[in-house]
Symmetry: none
Subunit: 136 residues, 4 copies
């Protein structure tokens, strides 16, 4: 098990071949790490320069990613100290959240419909994804 600890917390990797821009790949990976609970409030992200060297990209690109994360309230940055995972914004009532989710999903389904996908396609896809994650 110990051999598996690597990249357990937050190991950012870029796919230069992807059409997703670098800064967005970083954002997505940080978001995922938060969603998965791999990192939580107070966790310190790699420094802008450090990550830039690691990924062999320009520091500005990392900074742009961190900056967007901060605007969204996912991380908070302390000048001269570093960038940290923030607290989750206070959740509205559970009922409201459920309603909101329902609305968002329905909008999305109508959108998927334009491409000929059905709810079952979505379910199947999520099932596969979850299977893949399990194998990893």
């Amino acid at each position: 098990m110990a051999t598996q600890r690597d990249g357990q917390h937050l190991q950012i990797r870029l796919d230069p071949g992807s059409s997703i821009p670098f800064y967005r790949q970083i954002i997505l990976q940080v978001e995922m790490a938060i969603a998965d609970g791999r990192v939580t409030t107070g966790y310190r992200l790699p420094t802008v320069r450090g990550l830039a060297v690691d990924l062999q990209i320009n520091p500005n690109t990392v900074a742009k990613a961190y900056s967007e994360l901060e605007i969204r309230g996912l991380v908070s940055t302390q000048h001269g100290t570093g960038t940290f995972i923030g607290e989750w914004s206070p959740a509205p009532s559970e009922v409201d959240r459920e309603q909101l989710l329902s609305q968002l999903v329905h909008e999305f389904m109508s959108h998927l419909g334009s491409y000929g996908f059905t709810v079952d396609d979505l379910r199947a896809y999520l099932r596969e994804e979850s299977a893949k994650d399990g194998r990893k």
Copy 2:
């Protein structure tokens, strides 16, 4: 009544929020409609101008989409008559469909994320929905 199921065939809808450009959204929706048989050889696509007005976008954008569809051989344009689904319409591969679905889902998840929802919230929601539907 059956003649009136127009919207069932090809109802193009754009998502301005998506990172997929308009012209590509149009292409994908036409492709997918061909793929699952909602439209077949000889079906007449909406006119460039008509669709542009409908979608409230620049006619050039529609034209670009149609043009690319023609290059790929999926549709053929009859000057002064309209644009029609071609005779030999190679359906997009399952892999392409899966990729598209994947991209759409990931974008949606990122969207959900900004409201603080996780993949698991989505899974849970779909599970509940499916349970409800079962009961009905």
Copy 3:
């Protein structure tokens, strides 16, 4: 009255002497224009390059400001078309909003207290500000 129409909608000006960075000055002025109702949903902001020339600053700086506004959901940008004032995000219930405002104000007052300011100082300040605006 007609002589007063200038800069009525959105006239952005930078104060190079201010300690507030350029991109933030732009953000603040757009926010103000929205808050004042000088611009509303659908209003098209100056182009990135155009504004940069006007203000004699680097286009990237304008882009950074617009980008933050977009992340916050205040504007929405359409690639190749421009940047537009967005719709207001759907408001939660009035009661919740009132509670939220109350909480925020109380936090702020406690903060002001550390500097020796009182609620009355705040009231007086706002009164002056409103007087100034009226004069303009």
Copy 4:
């Protein structure tokens, strides 16, 4: 009991969200406490280390603040004894106080803005509150 009103004299609190750096927040709060007489000549400030622990910040930051206060002649440091409010403590001018208040309010408004509140919402709220207090 009167000897226990400690927090009344000088209770320093930091706002990590503010754009005002920590060291400056400390300086301003000490200045303002002097200005409105909450602390006077001979009052002993918290120790550098003690305050750093309290505020959970780097001692260097507290030291920097105290050092600047000493340069301005507002406090004097007695090696091995502590830091004390000086004998001649020029109070910050009214203009400075107004500027500070202005900055704090503007920052707060920007904060409120991200929740969709406007200056007018704030005004309305304060008006209501004042009405309520009057009734009490």
